[in-house]
Amino acid sequence: MKNMLVQVDGKLGAGVTPKDVVLAIIGEIGTAGGTGYAIEFGGEVFRNMSMEGRLTVCNMAIEAGARAGMVAVDDITLAYVKDKPFAPKDALWNRAVAEWRDLHSDADAQFDRVVRLDGAQIQPQVTWGTSPEMVLPVAGTVPDPALESDPVKKSSIARALEYMGLNAGQPITEIPVDKVFIGSCTNSRIEDIRSAAEVVKGRRKSPSVALAMVVPGSGEVKAQAEAEGLDAIFRAAGFEWREPGCSMCLAMNADRLEPGERCASTSNRNFEGRQGYGGRTHLVSPAMAAGAAIAGHFVDVRQLAERQ
């Protein structure tokens, strides 16, 4: 694998999450953009990002085509790892930290490719198509294949719109959702659950949404969320609070979409049939998924917050 640096500097706006960052990166470089590379995520945005957020970003490195994604070790990494059940302790911890401090790219390291994004420009993202690179800011409108000159892109847009049951020029915020899935290895950690709960608190799921489910990523996450009373917030809002597992990310258990059903999902793949045969997946952040459950359609969570 060759070396790629994805450098995102600047400050993220309020309501813009790690999921939005990685979706924006994939929108920029495409699902083949990282093919043959190991991607290092660097810059101010990742330096300031929590470990949960970094895990979300690296989770989707593969959706950018890269087999591996990584972030340099810093104080945030060490604070996260310290006191984990299998982390080294005492003298071994000190030895490990001394080794781990070197786990960053040298200042004069050469990357084969460098991609730079301005973090301040990143908006909450929603995928509209059947590939993670088919993504737009929430204020966007569904693309029109007639306006695309490249014949390959034109036909892939047309096919995606047909599968997704969308019209060219349709505003993202006018797309209604049938189901909402908050979970998966991308977005089922405690910060994800907290971020969704913050949007849901004191509100109700839209009656037009048949099912909104929250599936914590592990028993530990579930217990932590329950200790914080987050499960009660979801239940009071008409959401289902489930047991940990991959669940509706990939329809290998009973949690799946029916043909034609549309889902706001915090998972990582929106391929045809991924969440169930004929199912339609829109990838979003936990906050955006929660907002869609409340509104019944996609909504800019930043505006939802203002209305509170």
């Binding site: 694998m1 070396n3 640096l5 290092e40 470990m51 970094r54 895990l55 970003v57 690296c58 989770n59 490195a61 593969i62 890269a66 087999r67 591996a68 994604g69 990584m70 972030v71 070790v73 990494t77 060490l78 996260y80 790892v81 984990k84 059940p85 299998f86 982390a87 080294p88 490990a96 080794e99 781990w100 070197d102 786990l103 960053h104 790219s105 040298d106 004069d108 390291a109 050469q110 998966s184 290895c185 991308t186 089922s188 950690r189 489910m213 990523g217 592990s218 028993g219 530990e220 996450v221 217990a223 489930r242 047991e243 940990p244 597992g245 991959c246 990939l250 290998m252 258990n253 009973a254």
Partner: protein
């Protein structure tokens, strides 16, 4: 962490090569052998296992009369096939309604029990999605090479680790040898 045969950072005692990237360092720290054609063996520190991509690997080991090279490098948990409703989860594996899902989860339990592999079983508090469980238990740590028969293994790279998904035949190879055939 294993440090074997890394490439020299200083060349002929004078001119220093360009600095290394994080990926270069992680690769260097785990390189066991590199051939002229660029194919290499890298040492694997942590092997995360779930129920979908492991049954044939375990069977392959069994047929070849092998045991895992380093049992304590492996951590397993079922995630893809576990039901998520409280009702279906209440009676553990026995309660899984879908027969294929039940077989997969039971098979993982059986294989881990037989070989003494640490597994967070269906209703263990530590059970969960492999890429959530690895970091939160500290099974996955900075500087490690981490593999799992699942494409989203890249998640663990957030720790400053080299982590990627592998296929089922590679799952068997890593279990048997603690190494992976790779190309930088």
């Amino acid at each position: 962490m294993q440090k074997i045969n890394w490439r020299p950072v200083f060349v002929s005692g004078e001119s220093r090569m360009a600095g290394l990237t994080l990926y270069d360092k992680l690769w260097r720290n785990h390189l066991v052998l590199e051939r002229d054609d660029g194919s290499a063996l890298i040492y694997i520190d942590r092997h995360i296992v779930h129920e979908v991509t492991s049954p044939q690997a375990f069977e392959g080991l069994r047929l070849a009369g092998r045991k895992p090279w380093r049992v304590d490098s492996i951590v397993a948990t079922p995630d893809h096939n576990v039901p998520t409703t409280q009702q279906e989860r209440a009676s553990g594996v026995d309660g899984i309604a879908d027969p294929i899902s039940k077989i997969q989860v039971q098979t993982l339990d059986d294989n881990c029990d037989e070989l003494g592999i640490l597994e967070f079983k269906i209703n263990d508090r530590r059970q969960g999605i492999v890429h959530v469980v690895g970091p939160e238990t500290g099974a996955c740590l900075p500087g490690m090479t981490i593999v799992c028969g699942d494409s989203h293994t890249s998640t663990n790279g957030a720790l400053g680790a080299l982590a990627f998904g592998i296929g089922t035949s590679e799952v068997e190879h890593v279990m048997a040898t603690q190494c992976l055939v790779a190309k930088k």
